[in-house]
Amino acid sequence: MENRAIFSGKLLPYLLILPQLAVSLIFFYWPALQAVQQSFLVQDAFGLSTEFVWFENYINLLQTPEYYHAIGVTLLFSALVAFFSLGLGLLLAAMANHNIRGIQIYRTFLIIPYAVAPAVASVLFIFMFQPGLGMIARALQRGGIDWNPVLNGTHAMILVVIVAVWNQISYNFLFFLAGLQSIPKSVIEAAAIDGATPTRRFWTIIFPLLSPTTFFLIIVNITYVFFNTLGIIDTATGGGPNGATQTLVYKVFQDGKVGTDLGGSAAQSVILMIIVVGLTAFQFRYVEKKVHY
């Protein structure tokens, strides 16, 4: 930045940066600090007195089985969504990279899910999976499966995973396609001359060269599941049945809405913030290594 040609101005740069700083301070830093502060306090039932309790809220939180359950749900959910949406995205991108005709048309259809809000995507799938009237639900019932995501936790999890995978496919497809197209053709041709079959070429050359994209996408997908699937869960299952689809973020939302335990809810938020900082830092480490798209 040092060799920039610079304008002089005493007041102007501050005026230019002021709106963004003001919004950041009011709506980002102030609430974040409040969450941290709140997480060290306990308030009585009427909100009349507050007491500073150090880490008591955190300790209480880490002693509730529901919290560990939510962690487990989040990890399972993330793993399933990342695995399937990355796998399908890569498969479709690898096929689209064959230099075939009509790629524009395929791409146009494949990017549509990105534009659909998670909550709306959820509604589309609820319609198909609604016991009694949904097309897929009826097919499953005819096949002897007693499909009911309202009562069966496994079914509820399958439903939200399907919606999230569908919602994320576009993103993974586009990034994998860009990644594949940046791999030099000469490397692949050299391997072909050495007699490597297409499958062997994919796993020994293309896939390793694609690893920066894959790592990047794993992080993005985990972040997506952590924070953007709230709309899916809230519309499709409401975290149920019996907490089977209650992720960490959804738990903050639900506990906060009830509003009886401000300190505990704030402690959950702070833990989430630490997770985001970790994920973002991790992501930037890979970007620093000059990931090529």
Binding site: R4, F7, P31, L92, M95, I112, T235
Partner: protein, 282 residues
């Protein structure tokens, strides 16, 4: 490709076709369902071709808002969504382009402090600071208002970073030439930098419009009045009846209307969309 086999491209076409069908089917089914009668849908015998109730359903959904429940017409919800999406998009672009301009083209004390202050907001998505932010918005009397829907979401480190990165590629000869011509910082911004940034702004517009239109958690919390609801929130209320009486044709028509603007933007501005997506994630 390296090999030239006769049916070499058959498999890719087949797999892509299956992919497209799987991806498009839920959307297709929603469009079809929105043209059928509720009774036909409810007994699970809905055909896979359009029915004849389309006009009636869309009219009821958008304009009159009739039905068993007393609902807002979806047209009004779409208007709220549009205001919110455009407000977030324009607001984000406006405040980040000027802050990036200050950071790149000016030398002033605390420049790097300001940059990092903005940069770190990347790590605080609205979901993790949701209730304190709600409280502040409420203290500022912005519940149930457009400013409350828009303002807390417009600070964006990604847009600032994108503009900063782009501004740093602008050759300094250009700045010097402008200075020799007697242009001050504001003239340089309007006459030179802004025209150069048009593609970046357009790409960002596409991404941010989708982001804004598809917001869920924030509008859900801060809108209590029905006439402030956005369509993405409204749709939940339509199917939120845990019984068999959900008006599926209305629900599906609403889903179609909720998808229409962002899908149209993505499909019609594909090139800008892909550019925006890849640049903002760098």
């Amino acid at each position: 490709m390296v090999e030239h086999r006769r049916f070499g491209n058959l498999l890719p076409h087949l797999i892509l076709l299956v992919g497209v069908v799987i991806v498009a089917f839920p959307v297709y089914l929603a469009v079809i369902a929105s043209t059928h009668d509720n009774a036909v849908i409810a007994n699970g015998q809905m055909p896979l071709i359009p029915g004849s109730h389309g006009f009636e359903t869309y009219w009821n959904t958008i304009v009159s808002g009739t039905g068993r429940t007393t609902r807002q017409p979806v047209g009004a919800m779409m208007f709220n969504s549009l205001i919110m999406a455009l407000g977030i998009t324009i607001g984000k672009i406006a405040i980040s382009i000027i802050s990036a301009y200050a950071i790149v083209f000016f030398a002033f004390p605390f420049r790097m402090t300001a940059f990092w202050t903005i940069f770190i907001t990347l790590m605080l998505p609205v979901e993790v600071r949701i209730f304190p932010t709600y409280k502040i918005t409420s203290d500022l009397h912005m519940l149930d208002s457009y400013s409350g829907l828009i303002l807390p979401l417009i600070a964006s480190a990604t847009a600032t970073l994108l503009f900063r990165q782009f501004f740093m590629t602008v050759p300094k000869e250009l700045v010097e030439a402008s200075k020799i011509d007697g242009a001050g910082p504001i003239r340089f911004f309007w006459d030179t930098l802004l025209p150069l940034s048009v593609t970046n702004i357009a790409a960002l517009f596409v991404i941010l419009f989708i982001y804004g239109w598809n917001q869920y958690l924030w509008p859900l919390l801060i809108t209590t009045r029905d006439d402030m609801q956005t369509i993405v929130i409204g749709i939940k209320k339509i199917i939120d009846v845990h019984d068999a009486l959900t008006e599926w044709s209305v629900a599906m028509a609403t889903a179609v209307l909720a998808m229409l603007p962002p899908v149209a933007v993505v499909v019609l501005m594909q090139r800008l969309f892909v550019k925006g997506l890849i640049e903002t994630e760098k």
